[in-house]
């Protein structure tokens, strides 16, 4: 299989404070590559640098150093102008961690969904757009008539996340970066929605990168897991390799502290 995404020595250093500047190394020279059609998870605890990595790949924040190549093109050097960026976001798109901040609060859900069509080259008529939007919402278990005219704050966190996922099924990109996409979705709905991501891969060969602190989710869904700790990727392998035979001490501790359903620590 061919490589679709290549990340080399990627780093992000935040400078905070005005008078006495302090540096935070959020992502520390990370390198990895992802094959076409692969489902890969980036797992790590809070503050380990997962979202920062995701946002750089989505071309939302500029790396301090390093290279990100999508289909051979350096996304920070080779893409210029509106049409290149439209091409990029049509092909690489995401579900963002904070489902509130990614919505314009004055827009209705219909507006939010329709804006996805701006990324399309083909011109669609209004009826086709409406039909596609409704189908996408139904896929994630939302009732179109109940949500289309609502504004983001009138939906629960889990519903907003599902709207964002529906938007991904509308765009059908080649690479999806999903940052904690189901963190607010109730357990009994979550599995069905995760399966939709797998279906997208089966149908059009989409590559998916899940970003999560939930090792259980990563274990279930991925072909490969990368463990991130303090800005670095410290270990990677298949789910079974990571879970049954963790190499790094941090991974071992992490796995030990995850509660299991079928065994108890205290009994």
């Amino acid at each position: 299989m061919s490589t679709i995404l290549e990340v080399k020595n990627l780093a992000k250093i935040y400078e905070i404070g005005y008078i006495r500047k302090r540096q935070i190394v959020a992502v520390d020279k990370v390198s990895f590559s992802v094959k076409k059609g692969e489902i890969i998870s980036l797992v790590g605890e809070s503050g380990s640098g997962k979202t920062t990595t995701a946002r750089m790949i989505l071309r939302l924040i500029k790396p301090t150093s390093g290279v990100i190549k999508f289909m051979g093109r350096d996304i920070w050097r080779d893409l210029r102008g509106g049409s290149d960026l439209r091409w990029y976001w049509r092909n690489v798109n995401g579900v963002f961690q904070d489902p509130f901040s990614s919505f314009n609060p004055t827009h209705r859900i219909r507006d939010f969904m329709y804006r996805a069509f701006n990324l399309f080259n083909e011109k669609l008529d209004r009826d086709t757009k409406e039909r596609l939007v409704r189908e996408a919402l139904q896929m994630v278990g939302l009732i179109p008539d109940e949500v289309l005219n609502r504004r983001p704050f009138e939906l629960s966190g889990g519903m907003r996340q599902r709207v964002m996922i529906a938007r991904i099924f509308l765009i059908r990109p080649m690479l999806v970066i999903a940052d904690e996409p189901t963190s607010m979705i109730d357990a009994t709905l979550r599995l069905g929605i995760l399966r939709l991501f797998s279906k997208l891969r089966e149908e059009i060969g989409t590559t998916i990168m899940f970003i999560t602190h939930d090792m259980g989710l990563a274990y279930y869904i991925s072909d490969r897991i990368m463990v991130m700790y303090r800005g670095k990727i410290i270990e990677e392998g298949t789910p079974d390799e990571i879970v049954n035979n963790p190499k790094h001490e941090y991974t071992r501790n992490l796995l030990d502290s995850i509660p299991k359903l079928y065994t108890s620590w205290f009994k």
């Binding site: 109730d186 709905l189 259980g216 989710l217 274990y219 502290s257 359903l261 108890s264």
Partner: protein, 326 residues
Amino acid sequence: MGYVVETIDLRAYYMLRRGSVKAVDGVNLKIGEREIVGVVGESGCGKSTLSRVLALDFIPPLKLVGGKIIIDGEDVTSIPISEARKRIAGTKISLIPQSAMNAIIPVTRVKDYIADVVKEKTGLPREKIVDMARKRFEEIGLPPIALDMYPFELSGGMRQRVLIALATLLNPSLLIADEPTSALDVSTQKMVLTTLYNVFKMGLTKSIMFITHDIATVRQIATRIVVMYAGKIVEDGPTEDLIHNPFHPYSKALMFSILTPEPEVRKRVEQTGGIAGEPPSLINPPPGCRFHPRCPYAMDVCRREEPPMIEVEKGRFVACWLYAKK
């Protein structure tokens, strides 16, 4: 053996202008001495409301609409609420509310905060309370120096453990902890869970009610699990039985949707599907069994009549027509 708390057909609604939210609707629950009861269910099913009601914490629009609450043998719903609250606060039922961690006043030192809270409940002198707190901190492995710190100087896990120490200072009959681990990183969760378990083993509280949406967490310490759906208890049974062999179709769906890094889970998940639909509105819940619109086994009777709670095996209670003779 007496019950530390017993509810009979308990109903508590949020009275809103557009209708009442039936968040606790006909709950029968008995908690005995030396039990850790895990209450699980998805967002909005009424877990926190149940905890507020048991702590007699009725803040409008929440209102007790029917049923009884019997605490240590006394029907506290037959006496004025303010009187009842005085009798139970701290010594009988002690509640750590959801997100309490963020609610601690940041400008007061931990010891002053504890002294304020406990003095209001008991009238004990401050020095005495701080002494008690120091002893309790030592007992449960918290550094006593934390008493002199401000809440923002403590990590999330430490803050949650301070709240556990505070909530058990007067050795209550029942400690209710509402999502005590949900906002924490996994490594800290384990620490808080251990503290809760120790508090129980040392007898600092007779029983614990542990509320969470995270079954894998609560099953670590719970002796018994209660599953709630849309304002009602649908299943109640010993932890191991319920985890390994859930009876109620909703409990099954819930259990089967849990993703933990265990080979059993991966295998199981590949075979079973999730369930369609969403929990219903609690203003106009569906008639009959509230799970019927999503239940793969729904029958006619389910749409018409509410299923009774049946003891299917010893200690295992289920409210579902599949198990009731009709």
